[in-house]
Amino acid sequence: MSHYNREGLFNPAYHDSGTLEIDRSSSRKSDHYNPYDRDTEPWQRGVADWAPPEALPPYNEQGRYPWDSREENWRPTDNMAMDLLPQQNDSLRWQHNHGSVNYGYQTDSAVDYITAPQEQQAPWTPHMGETLRQRGTRKMSLFPGGGVALGRLGMTEEDVRDEIESGEQDLVKELFAMSSRDQIQAIRVLQMSLQNKRDIRRQVLACKSSKRGLKLTCLTDCTDQVSRSFRRFGANLVSVRQAMTLWRGTMKEIGGKFGTGVLSYFVFLKWLLMFNIFSFLVNFGFITVPQLVQLPNITDQMDFKGLELLTGAGYFNQTVLYYGGYSNETIGTQPTYDMQLAYFFTIAAYLVLCGFSLIYSMARSFQKNFVLSASGNAWCLLCSWDFSVTNEKAIRQRKNNLRIQLKESLSEKSQGDHMTMSEKFKQFGIHLGTWLISTGLAVASCTAIYFLCLDYLEAINNSESQDFSSLLKQASTLLLPFVVSLINLVIPLLYSLLNKIEKYSNPRTQIYVIILSVIGTKCLPSLGVPEFDIARNVLDLIYAQTLAWIGIYFSPLLPALQMIKLFITFYLKKVSLYQNCQPPRRSGRAAQMQTIFIALLFFPSFVGAMSMVAYTVWSLKPSKDCGPFQGLSTTFEAVALWMERLNIQNLPESMWAVWIYNNMIKSELFFYLISLIILVLIYFFWQVTQGRKLLISILREQIINEGKDKAFLLGKLQKLQKAKQTTASSQPAYTQMPQSYDRIQEIEPDYEQSLPSMPRTAEATGPNGPPITSALIQAMLARRQAEEDEEEGY
């Protein structure tokens, strides 16, 4: 602590000048910036001496300063520790040029406790100058709430430096106590400049080595080397693994060019691909491979004709691609592998795992992205800018969009207030009308398909009697899918037409509303270059995945097909994106969209597919002639039969399975109990969330009250400073906040009076001292007071 004090101040001014005391006091007197002094104009506070307008920062590129130019003038002074101020350096330079001596007081003046003049190399102060310069102009994280305008409190720079140093030592001690990996992580997230971090790191390492200095240095060197090389190896592994991630580079490019909304579609696609890969591996491993080992006897073999690739039926019907290609025998002799059970349990396990993983992702994503979600202008302005976009056109687009969004939100507010009743009715009527039409369309298409199906089945059954060639028959099986696809193409276009009639202002609401009508899509009205329609594409993906899940029971290797399809889709979409589309207009809330996608995937899609498969398994009679469940009345009977067999065998190690089956799966009481318990838990957690909401609002109140406290204390400090200023000017000696502390106790707490003094429109009324962390101030004042009491005591 001592070596920062009276010697070795880091600027030549002090060295060149006479006694430090006199210089300081005189400089302080003339140029001490009193932020609390509202009566004097900024330039009277000595600002103009060392911050000429031309030294101000150059970002007047737009040439527009609607706000007070006065503010510009005094801005250089009105900053706290956090400075990297161009104006500081300009003023320093300016003074340098003028050969001014008053360089030093800048540090102890109100402004900052670290005006490390960066240009100079400070050859005359090797140690301290260097460290202070390294400490640079960044705020140290030890001083929350904006560094401390300790100077404003009238503390000397030595005290300031003492504070910094003690803070630093605390930090080093903290870091020293951690493990090496934690240390590195903690250093990385420090809010300081790189040089400061290096400094801290060096100190920590020095501490470490000094501590270990007593032990064998050779051994510790070795262990150091070993641990360092392990860390490097670990880092290499991580980078290798990252490099192997599928499509990583492409995704980054897409994100850079088109923004995170579009990127979320591709991320979703990749996620679905992972699902399918997993399912394919599982199914292939547990069902297909054993079956391939012992192929069942297929009667009535069909030849391969080219049409199979299109219809997927025919020859493929009897391969392992389909349910029918699996037998119900047990394969192998010892140990036996029961195909029935294997088929059933594999599919069941996969679906259950899928469900769990979806629920987990949904919950995690919801928690991350939805809870306490922000919206509105603040978010729009400060958080929504997508810095990952680097394309010039894209950025211009975004700027336009942001402007449009802000304008719209402004007009929304004003509009929402002024909508007349008739207008509201009209809008409501339009909404209702389009809803009816869209629902009608959906219902109509569903019934059309249903009747077509019925007619079609009839026709097929009838035609069996006639002598149709099998080729034609197979070709006619294509009719139904063809019609469905046609409807899928046409109806969305109709919906987008409807969409143009309606006008929802929030695009997200639009997306959600239309998704609710199952087949709808949203097409932003654009002429010329199309946009990548995220909603529609995602819906396509979800639709395809639903089909895959429904089909997995009947065709275990369907995931393979889905995988191929997703792969091709990725590249197709990417090419189409690059060639055709422009970045979307609205900056989408990508994280929330991701949550919605997962939720959509889970709720209608997965649950629907699972219910259908469950219904099939539980109630429908499996086909008699082929497949692993031939001859059973329902698929689930396979399990029942197995349990009976186990029961009969009466082996002790399998009795627990029988017990579970009998008492948990078959008994209804068990399910009632489970449901009851779950309901109770839900109620309990719901109450907990209610309590937490209440807590949040209480805490908000508390924050507002703290703000008022700050204001009050600030007012007091201002008064004290004023008083001190008048007394200090008559004393050449250097005094800090001496009797001021007593005065604090003398002044009556005048809460209401000082409240208005903390203006809500601080920036409008001009320079006011920014509030300071109240606790810190009190602590400093108390310490200062204690020191002075000691001195006085001598």
């Binding site: 250093i187 992205n369 603040a378 990952s388 994280a591 700050k710």
Partner: protein
């Protein structure tokens, strides 16, 4: 990989690795990107810690930053002299914070500093207005921009002092999970 590079000493590289979020390879690559900005100015040998700075104009012309409306503020915040002229340390620091590995709190802290144009530790209305101008290319009218700034302060100011402190800003960030997109550095590994 070995120590085949001669740009830095092993200790320097270790220090960089421990203080930034980059691996050794990335640091070397970034050094070359830095050097490419001004090859005649930056020596290839950094073992004796030369004190060179790349002037702001060159930094601002990097493809990652060129179109960024806040590039000047970003350079000012991270540069030692506060004017945008960056040493290698500043350069690495900047890209480390802007990379996707930096945690959200660190990014929020620096984002706050970037938006704080007058560097008074608060985002006051004038700062917001400047931010708005940079983002909307000056096409909002005075009234509109004033309205927007007022609304922003209304929404985000918790302790009711008329401006956003770091805590207010961080509170807002917590509720905006998209904020991690504050990283133009995603593409840097592609370009390097």
């Amino acid at each position: 990989m070995g120590n085949k590079q001669t740009i830095f000493t092993a200790q320097q590289l270790d220090a960089y690795q421990d203080c930034t979020f980059f691996t050794r390879k990335e640091i070397i690559r970034l050094f070359h990107r830095y050097r490419d900005l001004a090859p005649q100015l930056i020596p290839l040998d950094y073992t004796n810690k030369p004190d060179v700075k790349v002037p702001y104009e060159l930094i601002g012309s990097m493809p990652e930053l060129k179109e960024n409306p806040f590039r000047q503020r970003i350079a000012e915040v991270f540069s030692e002299d506060g004017e945008g002229n960056m040493t290698l340390d500043d350069f690495l620091d900047m890209f480390s914070v802007l990379s996707e590995m930096a945690p959200r709190d660190l990014k929020a802290y620096y984002a706050f500093k970037i938006y704080d144009f007058n560097s008074d530790d608060y985002i006051c209305k004038s700062d917001l207005e400047k931010t708005l101008n940079k983002l909307t290319r000056n096409e909002l009218s005075e009234d509109e921009s004033r309205l927007v700034c007022e609304k922003v302060i209304d929404e985000a100011d918790l302790d009711n002092d008329g401006r956003l402190s770091l805590e207010d800003f961080q509170h807002m960030i917590v509720r905006a999970p998209d904020f991690l997109r504050f990283s133009p550095c995603r593409v840097i590994r592609m370009l390097v």
